[in-house]
Subunit: 366 residues, 2 copies
């Protein structure tokens, strides 16, 4: 849809935007401006010329892509740290006894959930989204919108309702769905959401993550990482912590401005993207690749019909096959033990890319 | 000592390197290489071409500046997040009942200490480094090496011994001392240390912080933020968290590579710096400024003789005076209620800068 805006090297079919999105061309120039002018010339003054508020401003830009009205998303820290904030915030003061975590989750969510449960004195229980078995002991459920291995799309509306019916809260991990399809956090009354920005949003390697805390939850949200950036008056240098009344309380320490402003630049390409149209392109690209893989190979496709922008294929010797694919210019990745993953970012992946990738995969696995 | 390597704007006397260090000239070019080549051309492959190990590699570079042998420092996250890791790690499993926090600390350390104490079920007590009153109930003491307001240098050797004598651990905050004077973490048997990299180390706005966990503490160090980057086998995607045996367990989520590699570039200027010589230059510069302020003004200097690279001056209308100083090209900063701060980074501040700054201050406050 916007391939001309991206730097994709000659001869490369890039199907790993679900792991690290490609850079929009103008990001390099913006970084020069940030380093030379904002940092170099303006020096400390830049903190009051846009840097300090960047986490909220960029949070609002992401908010538009995930169905969050302004003032409910803030950017900063890693996904793991934001999972910690969301879970600790969700269980604070609860008299319920368990955190339920998607058993197929990307591991870091589960690792952090274990630590949060331990610190808060709750049990952790792993369950598949298809059979969560929530009870009135469930304080919060941590779910992935799109499964990182299979690409399966979970039903955010149904699962959020299922949690709410029993009085539990839900934390959605949007790492593999933001920038893939329209998301409606506000409309679905989601309690908390977190996500990274370096996959389909193309924010750059390890670009800062974000957290969504809806307006009605903010006053009761206790950030366990009560750093000075979340203080009501950070520059008053008061001895005790008084959180900002709004989303700013989800901030922690001084934000990583270079990574954050690269993300800011990268988000420019999203300003006029119609997410419904993007979704159709993503479905078309993944369907096209799937069709050709089915036609040309006997490999098992494990991605279900309800999916994100990813097709996952079971394949013996997945690592060796992916190495060979990469050697031939088709870049995806693999996950243990035997999964090849192919991500289709509609902003820069073409129909021809999808077809050629399937053909090369067929040649290698023939 | 190395002014020619830095971008300092014409007509500016920059005395705020204690808040945001100036950029070494080559950082902008390095960022181009990182964005265009590493991210743009190599794409996901860069993760196995140096990105993944960057937090340890850059940690070792900082280690040289703070007296830590390799394998004990890792870079990532903000200072606040690293204070949380260090304190939670220090109190894990303790049967002691209090955390003692420097009452003059930069606020975020105190805010985080409050949260850590609350989560771990300990009390928090604020005390001045000169009268800590440690008891056998003290689990850990959180101290600043150099006070952010006054520039006072605390005696790391004496205070560490004082804590150890009573069986308490110590966490040192090096934000205002790294890059100022030789630090000997290993030699002084420090338990934990943390610090930022955007002040005297010139890593860039909000560049990632670091944590020091000495070898003998690593096996017992439980990172409360048990993200996948700290796992023994992160790419095995195992369901349960098994920490890396070494310093890697202090990592959390995916590192912010652009900010981190800007820091990496900035550290190049430190490679051949003799820290003892640097210390002498810092003392000379601050003494020169102090002498001229004393001679030309009647303002009270609150920085004691034992100091970092900073001179702090009490001044009514501190904000208005600093605004005027900045308007005349002398950039320092102010802290409430009435403190002017002037930082002297020997790598790029000259004797002439120090004298002129005192003269301009005298003109304004005459």
């Amino acid at each position: 849809m916007k391939r001309e805006l991206f730097d994709i090297p000659e001869g490369v079919i890039y199907l790993d935007g679900n792991s690290l999105g490609a850079p929009p061309k103008h990001v390099a120039e913006r970084m020069q401006e940030v380093v030379k002018h904002q940092w170099g010339t303006r020096l400390i003054r830049s903190w009051s010329e846009g840097w300090w508020e960047a986490p909220q401003r960029i949070g609002d830009r992401i908010g538009r892509l995930i169905g969050a009205a302004p003032g409910q998303v803030v950017v900063g820290d890693s996904t793991s740290v934001n999972v910690f904030k969301a879970l600790m915030g969700a269980v604070k003061g609860t008299d319920r006894t368990e955190i339920v975590c998607d058993e197929s989750t990307f591991p870091t969510d589960g690792y952090i959930a274990q630590s949060a449960a331990s610190l808060a004195g709750l049990k952790i229980r792993a369950a598949h989204p298809s059979s969560l078995d929530l009870t009135d002991e469930t304080a919060v459920v941590l779910l992935n919108h799109v499964d990182y291995r299979t690409g399966a799309l979970n039903d955010m509306r149904a699962l959020t309702e299922q949690a709410h019916e029993i009085g539990a809260q839900v934390v959605w991990d949007l790492c593999h769905s933001a920038g893939v399809l329209p998301i409606e956090l506000d409309a679905l009354n989601v309690d908390f959401a977190i996500g990274c920005t370096y996959k389909f949003l193309n924010g750059g390697p390890g670009s800062p993550a974000y957290i969504y805390v809806p307006h009605e939850k903010q006053a009761g949200f206790d950030n366990p990482l009560s750093g000075w950036n979340g203080h009501r008056e950070p520059f008053a240098m008061q001895p005790s912590y008084e959180p900002d009344p709004g989303i700013v309380r989800a901030r922690v320490g001084t934000p990583d401005i270079l990574s954050m402003l690269a993300l800011d630049a990268a988000l420019d390409v999203w300003d006029d993207v119609d997410l419904a149209e993007l979704r159709q392109r993503g479905l078309a690209l993944t369907a096209l690749f799937r069709e050709h893989v089915r036609k040309l190979t006997s490999l098992e496709i494990i991605t279900p019909e309800a999916r994100g922008n990813q097709i996952s294929v079971r394949c013996p010797d997945a690592k060796a096959v992916m190495d060979e694919l990469i050697a031939r210019g088709v870049i995806g990745d693999h996950r243990p033990p035997d999964i090849l993953r192919f991500g289709f970012a509609p902003l820069y992946v073409t129909d021809e890319d999808a077809i050629t990738a399937a053909e090369v995969l067929a040649e290698i696995t023939r």
